[in-house]
Amino acid sequence: MSNADFTVEELANKDYKYGFVSDVEEEKFEKGLNEEVVRRISDRKHEPDWMTEWRLKAYRHWITMKEPHWSNVKYGPIDYQDIIYYAAPKRKPKLNDLNEADPNLLQAFEKLGIPLEEQKRLAGVAVDAVFDSVSVATTFKEKLSELGVIFCSMSEAVKNYPDLVGKYLGTVVPYTDNFFASLNSAVFSDGSFAFVPKGVRCPMELSTYFRINASETGQFERTLIIAEDGAYVSYLEGCTAPIRDTNQLHAAVVELVALDNAEIKYSTVQNWYPGDKDGKGGIYNFVTKRGACRGVNSKISWTQVETGSAITWKYPGCLLMGDNSVGEFYSVAMTNNLQQADTGTKMIHIGRNTRSTIISKGISAGRSNNSYRGQVKITRKAENARNYSQCDSLLIGDKCGAHTFPYLETNNPTAQVEHEATTSKIGADQIFYLNQRGISTEDAVRLIVNGYCKEVFKQLPMEFAVEATRLLSMSLEGSVG
């Protein structure tokens, strides 16, 4: 493909390119989880008592819960006592001075294509980088603060803006929400915090880059984004991890709050290590993401491109509480080899004239399994609610699976709910047509798949759309027999 900057040969030789391990000195806890560990995490982060208490409540609730198994994925038992719950680079840089950071750490981010300084400045993206459990650098903070925009690590937010954190944390995803959300609430170590005050349109994309480096470590980050009345923010999230032959647990929680007339756009390109061809290793990506459209005319839009992880289990959803609020979900989930994905969304219509749109594109190759699971619920008081869902599945080869589980619940007769689903295979005649125009089969598949995902990709900020296209190509590699 002439407009992508790699050739088929390069592609064929390309493995998971983010699989390196960085030699960064880290402080790690011993394996296992108990109240003491929860207290120590909180202590390490110099948290106020209320935060420690909240974590402990979450922990105490979590131990009463059972790991859920209703999703359409299979995996062996997880030993929660065999996981390290806290790992942090030892020499913690001062947040405004990158020069003091461990050079290996900075190099690691360079390698990932995340230069924290000049290049991002040129690109106009503010970056928060989370390495294992700890946020290591946030760029552009001063410039943003002139507008009253707060963008920092969750740890700093707990310290510097306890009122804001206390007011919103756990209000969208309570610590009792589900097994993995409770676990996260107890042990979350860092994450990003963004606050856009009334009437401010955040002038640049906010971006967090998550990286798991240490082995046998779980990553539990927590992200909270608040857009006050009339505010707008676009937030990007990227993730990678080294190649390891054991599975690693990633259980994040993301909470979004949009007040009156506010808009939050949340984009994810998820590329955790997916495991090898035989399904060895890879990240278990069990994530709870939810946005609350609390205000009138508010809008939350989720866009996700999921190409990584051995198992993905996530349903970014919207609680459409404010009248006329809008929820959107655009998703591309690609699975290859033995990857499993069970992903979709929840749109809960509560306010009047609320609208939601769901566009889901699943691509299965190899022996992978890809499920869309989506809930659309129109509550009794949601007059004139509208939903449109479109769930497409594309199969490459004949050993993979695609499944669609839509749940529609309508309790108001004025609702209009539309659901469309298609399953298709890349046609031999489509491939031959492209071949006949001089395009190789591998490039033909890539063109067809990118075309199939276009509706979702066009929702992504430019820079991310390019990255998403590249990732998809990499995931497709070897899927054409």
């Binding site: 002439s2 407009n3 005649d429 071949n435 006949q436 125009r437 395009i439 063109l447 075309g451 995902c453």
Partner: protein, 251 residues
């Protein structure tokens, strides 16, 4: 340019071509006519390398090279172009991107520099006038939601962009009204040079009023049973294929 000798081909075990011989030189236009099921489209597809067809005997030399040994995309980059009878739709694949990708694949293969997006666009605008195609079709997905006539015009636009050495038009006239037929044929005529060759596969004589062939061949039951000049097409129109069939039987 093209030399087909004793070509046999089958699909799903059923033999369709039963010994085709044909020679095409640069600068020539050949028409292949014949009743339904005689193997016209099979011949076109076999030359393009459609994988469903198995060549069981014979050889095809193209510019001195063994055409049948090449993968379909290599044949295309070597200058073999098939205008499809039923062009497929490629949802979400932008028409311009597709055309530029195709052109650059051929250029790379032939050791030429790739064409930039800007240069390509001006080239494309020029070529579009050839087939009287509106700009709006460029920003759309390849053939998606195109009318029958638009699809066929899009095929000829691709031909204009790729400038093949050997163009095979498979029933390009089917489904076209008289105006669209004229536009498509004009486009093809303008692309004709002394260095390239065109094979027109058609059921009806109608298209040959516009694209005038140097040679007409009648394909019947997997073989070329009659060859002649352009007047043969008129005779066929007048007397029908039964005439050829009967001759075949009495021979």
């Amino acid at each position: 340019m093209l030399e087909i000798k004793n070509l046999h081909a089958s699909i799903e075990g059923k033999e369709i071509l039963k010994g085709v011989d044909l020679e095409v030189n640069a600068g020539e236009v050949h028409a292949i006519m014949g009743p339904n099921g005689s193997g016209k489209s099979t011949l076109a597809n076999v030359l393009a390398g459609k994988p469903e067809y198995q060549v069981t005997a014979g050889e095809v030399m193209y510019g001195g090279k063994d055409l049948l040994a090449m993968r379909p995309e290599i044949r295309a980059r070597e200058g073999v172009f098939l205008a499809f009878q039923y062009p497929v739709e490629l949802p979400g694949v932008n028409n311009t991107t597709f055309l530029r990708t195709a052109l650059n694949e051929a250029r790379k293969y032939n050791g030429q520099p790739e064409v930039s997006a800007g240069a390509f666009l001006s080239l494309l605008k020029k070529k579009m006038r050839l087939v009287e195609m509106p700009d709006t079709l460029l920003s759309r997905s390849v053939n998606e939601g195109f009318s029958g006539g638009e699809k066929k015009r899009n095929e000829i636009l691709q031909m204009a962009v790729l400038e093949p050495k050997l163009a095979i038009l498979d029933e390009t006239d089917s489904g076209l009204d008289i105006d669209a037929l004229r536009i498509v044929a004009n486009g093809v005529n303008k692309l004709k040079t002394k260095d390239n060759a065109i094979i027109v596969v058609t059921h009806y004589q109608r298209l040959l009023n516009y694209i005038v062939p140097d040679f007409v061949h009648v394909l019947y039951d997997g073989r070329i049973v009659k060859s002649g000049g352009k007047e043969l097409a008129l005779q066929l129109e007048e007397r029908g294929y039964d005439w050829v069939k009967q001759e075949e039987v009495t021979e």
